[in-house]
Symmetry: C2
Subunit: 249 residues, 2 copies
């Protein structure tokens, strides 16, 4: 902040009418696909279009709180606690045709959820496979395609050097479950044995529960169960294959 136009004796009619909003990108793994939660807009502009959940920030409300509140109001998803981080702020002057809207996007990583229901302001709410949106089968309202692209890139990058991949699975989980998170988010296949070696050699990534149980996703031999460890960053990182692998799962 500078001292310019210091609004000490504030005159609302003289001050430019900025709107401040929060949008939330909820990513999860559903049916082997990285998926994002969208709501169908009921009102203009972009009525009938799919968009990210979000809404206007109250004057005394932290932006992150707005994101959590709108998620509940628009989709009925009531989740006790989950990882939520700021993505970035979108403030192009014409991004909303109504007025100048400065929107801060937040990013949430969640394990597979019960189906959402439409809430107050949204006609419908459901998960979409990110792959379909990237393929252009769905076009989002406002600049939400760009926000989603930034969010997915953040997710793909962040699971490399943090333990956030574990936020996508219910605990307890098997190493196969965790590996499938990486495969779904990156859209590649990983060697199971090399992956397990890396995860287990990273202190604090996972903690063994010394019991066995079925995978959350697929059949076959049941594996050892793990829970999330204390670490938040990974040394060394688990790096993405450098795009010379086979294309898809």
């Amino acid at each position: 902040m500078s001292d310019a136009v210091a609004p000490a004796g504030y005159d609302p009619s003289a001050y430019p009418p900025f709107a401040v909003t929060s949008d939330i990108v909820v990513l999860t793994i559903r049916g082997g696909e990285l998926s994002v939660l969208l709501v169908e807009r009921g009102n203009e502009p972009y009525a009938g279009c799919w968009a990210l959940p979000g809404g206007f920030v109250d004057i005394d409300e932290p932006g992150e709180e707005t994101a959590r509140r709108e998620l509940v109001e628009e989709t009925g998803l009531e989740i006790s606690s989950f990882h939520l981080e700021q993505l970035r702020t979108y403030s192009a002057p014409q991004r909303d045709p109504r007025m100048r809207v400065v929107s801060t996007a937040y990013l949430a990583f969640l394990p597979d959820l019960p189906a959402p229901v439409a809430g107050d302001d949204a006609a419908r709410a459901r998960f979409f496979a990110v792959r379909d949106i990237e393929a252009g089968e769905v076009t989002l309202a406002f600049d939400h395609d760009q926000i989603l692209a930034d969010a997915v890139e953040r997710a793909r990058s962040k699971i490399e050097y943090t333990t956030l991949a574990a936020a996508f699975v219910e605990k307890p989980f098997t190493l196969g479950d965790l590996r499938r998170v990486y495969e779904c988010v990156w859209g590649t296949r990983l060697h199971p044995s090399n992956f397990a070696r890396k995860v287990l050699s990273t202190p604090g990534f996972v903690r063994s529960l010394d019991v066995r149980g079925a995978s959350q996703f697929e059949g076959g031999r049941v594996g050892a169960l793990y829970e999330t460890g204390d670490a938040t960053v990974l040394h060394p990182a688990i790096l993405r294959p450098t795009a010379d692998e086979e294309d898809e799962r």
Copy 2:
């Protein structure tokens, strides 16, 4: 954005009075120290305190443009083009005692600059060693200590896996110059030969000019000169020593 409180027929007096600002963190290397540009505030609140340059966003102005404009207005630094990226947005309700101010911070990496001069709204402007601020010798206005800490961590992290370290040196530069950037930003020493091997084995990081010249910083044998290459990301990354090195240069 949701449809809530859609301000189609907009009534300024009914809409909460948000202020939207941009702050800019200008980092450079001066005298072997990672340094940040600060301005001394002329007005309340925090009059006489040092703060990051910044100011209110115009209603039809992109936030990034505000950051560039305020940098010139407050410090007189007229730089043609430089790397500027969004850091994050700070919107705690009480971060400014006057009113609700949502501020987006931007981060610039620059080579050593001529001394700045105070501009319109700032009493003085000068560079401070980040080390001194981290040591608590200077306390910044508002939440700018937090913004600076986030910016420095971003810089320390980003030179690991991008070519941004080159933005801190004038081109042409020697490999010693580039290594000193890493050493100043991380506060560590690096093995000159291993560093050179890594940089030269990373395609597109630097391009040899096939001439020799003096280092920008220190004496000794003059080395080969390089310019910035085409790459923007580094494969493999140049990782920070894991905090079991000697403390300082």
